[in-house]
Symmetry: C2
Subunit: 482 residues, 2 copies
């Protein structure tokens, strides 16, 4: 892990006052030990659970519980609901907003041991797996049968599938395979009363009830603990190709996106942007070279996933030639080997690492309508007037910008100004202040920005249905206390 | 429309007793006339609204209201909630389970005039449109910009997009483009209190709240009136190709599906089955010829949607050759012209018409895990022992079987036996008794089959959040009265 000096921007810390929850007693611990086994009730050496992976967000907890099944999870939650014990649910602990980190002394329920069942139906491509399976491990198992997990993200080596659902994970292939809503067919969730809810099923079409399983996506543990997931998986592509383009204006980037949609059509899987400042930052902080001579204002990384390498190469080459011929791109290269492809992706995937090495860092994960996507970067630069450096990279195809600001040292004034500026700008331009990372504790104070009172009231009512005692993940995305 | 002698299978008609709702008075009518205009409060000649399109399900109603906007819809529902007037919501009235048809004297709220706003963002492919737009009209408007509605179904010339969301429409291209969950980004819904809920938005990635918009899909008007929909649309394919295969066993059909997934990959858009009995029925009742000489046990209709005709043709030919070479298919033809392609689709799309001409008809819309898909047809044939004819056709790629049974005349005994047999068989084999048509009034008595008490309780609680007075679409999918 990279050590980051990360600006944790929480403004109204008062709203994090401890709720009226019970404190854990020795008889509670005895109950848990009986329910799931002594070895799986941890009270010591639990720092890996009480901090997030960046070690910037820290809470404390009396114990970590590691149930191995839906039933054990249910018995724990039922007990906690009766006793009014607050619980925070944790998967692979790879989140970026502290959603899985306790704030006060919440009990930590980790889903890491819930990984007994893994069943693929090869004829339909329907997979049921327990929540604790790690994304990359699940993907490796699918590879043996010619299938692939449709989502892919940086944390794949540690994140768990249950946590992916709860986080509403997006990732780098959303453009091609769609969001988790495209794939989820059903899930098992233990609600805040300990009730086991089997929602949806294994069928691609089923209109016999409300499609409640979809409420689990992006729910951040507020409604229940996801213990099992059923989803459609996709055929593993037989051909993966990448190309990079150098572009001199943002409007040309958007024209190239339209060209890619029509020329690459069904095989277009990623359309990523790295701006010129970010590329300079990568080159100066990392032992990585740009693939182009000289510097340009924008770089696009385009990837295809297909079933026929010859066809895909022909499409990709035609697309690159047309982008150059129409003078939308000033330069273009296609990767000729797996090494070259990996090099292109390192430029994009290590952009956050380079930015983190550039100084004290303020990270944003916003999405915007494409007409406003890059203006946020420009206007943030204008606002800072040299007080900091602004980097923009992200999933342009999805409108998802990872805006980073760095300063030489911690700048208290900037810290106070920056988030309200960015978040208000984003919301007033029809964007989202959290494209894929969620709300958690980090963005809690901004969670109502741009939301109507009726929507806020609706989600509180839904929370009340699933978790009437509000014991799950308090002080975060949905709080019934304020 | 074809006149069908359709078996409407409702067993426990007692459960349809009129609820304790207010009856409509002249002062109510005055309020409605003031709210939306006299011309749009219809009390006469409303048979097109009080019956479903097959004219088999009939209710009555004092009036039909045709609001033109979300705001007018809100003022109507707010009033009805206060007065406890029951309301049934109706789109294009193309449903197949009577979900939009009143049972007693529910007021009918038609969304047909809510069609002012239609906005496409061409760079991102995000479309916002009012609920009353007809699917085919919306698709035609998108064609001008190179986009396409991702869903396609028989009723596209009449069904409205709001109704498609409420019905959770599936259709013939789900295999390629995914369900509505893959496309929906947001919607505006007027809940049972008249509150306007703006859920989700125009962004492909937004993790700032619960993903509540997805609850609208398949909700059958139980939670609210969908008045506006925001969804991702897809690039219009530049090449559409079809082929048919004749196959001698169901297990070979499944092997061919796996072959299609790997050989056609990203361009496979439909994988439809017509069984031998259905093809004979088509040939004997309609002026339509099979594309193959002689008769076979199974026929598959395979379609591709792609961006490059040469590539697609090469893939499709390779696939057909391999299916024949591996002796999975006994015969195969690819369509060489638009006429030949249309002919293949007529065989599939007119299968229900042929079955309806075959006698008194009992229609089913079930989905099943693929290993059980065709056994239902075989076991239904065994059970009937010649008392009726059994036809199976459907979307094999989605596990969705449209099983039809016909008899020469109405058979009261069979009527009593058939639905319980089919539905119990389906549920005990992990299937759904309603793959895409929904529950409505037709399948209401079977809606709890295979559902857990906790799920039923959950959906009643959710209904209570959105529609606390239970005025929306009573006596159907979710009833708070029983």
């Amino acid at each position: 892990y990279i050590k980051m000096r990360l600006s944790i921007i929480r403004t109204a810390t008062n709203s994090f006052a401890r709720g009226n929850y019970a404190r854990i007693s020795s008889s509670d611990l005895s109950f848990f030990e009986k329910a799931i086994g002594k070895d799986y009730v941890k009270t010591k050496e639990i720092e890996n659970y009480t901090s997030d992976w960046t070690r910037q967000m820290k809470g404390s907890s009396e114990c970590v519980l590691l149930p191995s099944s839906t039933e054990e999870t249910s018995s724990i939650i039922k007990y906690c609901a009766e006793k009014r014990i607050a619980v925070v649910v944790q998967g692979g602990n790879t989140g970026l907003v502290g959603g899985a980190t306790p704030i006060h002394d919440e009990l930590i329920l980790s889903t890491g041991r819930i990984k007994n069942n893994f069943h693929l139906e090869p004829s339909s491509g329907v997979l049921t797996l327990d929540a604790g399976f790690i994304l990359a491990d699940a993907d490796n198992r699918l590879a043996e049968h010619g299938f692939m997990m449709p989502l892919d993200l940086g944390a794949k080596g540690s994140c768990q599938i249950g946590g992916c659902i709860a986080a509403g994970a997006g990732g780098i292939r959303l453009l091609r395979y769609g969001s988790l809503h495209s794939h989820l067919l059903g899930c098992t969730m233990v609600d805040g009363k300990g009730t086991i809810l089997n929602l949806g099923g294994r069928l691609r079409k089923d209109n016999t009830s409300l499609h409640t399983a979809h409420l689990a996506i992006g729910s951040e543990g507020q409604l229940g603990v996801v213990t099992s997931v059923t989803m459609g998986v996709v055929p593993r592509p037989l051909s993966i190709l990448s190309a990079m383009l150098a572009v001199s204006s943002y409007s040309d980037c958007i024209r190239i996106l339209s060209l890619a949609r029509s020329k690459l059509g069904e095989i277009l899987s990623s359309f990523e942007l790295i701006d010129g400042e970010t590329m300079k930052c990568v080159e100066s902080h990392l032992p990585l070279k740009n693939v182009f001579q000289g510097s340009h204002d924008f770089y696009l990384l385009i990837e295809t996933h297909g079933s026929n390498g010859d066809h895909d190469a022909e499409k990709l080459n035609q697309f690159v030639e047309e982008a150059l011929g129409m003078e939308l791109a000033v330069d273009g290269v296609a990767a000729n080997s797996e090494n070259e492809r990996a090099h292109m992706w390192r430029l994009r995937e290590e952009s956050p690492i380079a930015a983190a090495k550039d100084g004290y860092i303020y990270k944003f994960d916003v999405s915007l309508p494409l007409e406003h996507f890059y203006r946020l970067t420009e206007e943030t630069r204008d606002k800072l007037k040299g007080r900091g450096r602004v980097y923009c990279y992200g999933h342009l195809g999805d409108g998802n910008s990872h805006l980073n600001v760095t300063t030489d040292g911690e700048d208290e004034e900037l810290k106070k100004e920056l988030s309200p500026f960015v978040y208000n700008w984003v919301v007033s331009h029809g964007g989202s202040i959290s494209a894929e990372h969620g709300i958690g504790q980090l963005k809690r104070d901004y969670r109502s920005l741009g939301k109507s009172a009726s929507e806020s009231s609706l989600i509180r009512s839904l929370k009340g249905v699933f978790d009437p005692h509000s014991i799950l993940c308090p002080y975060k995305m949905i709080s019934t206390q304020d």
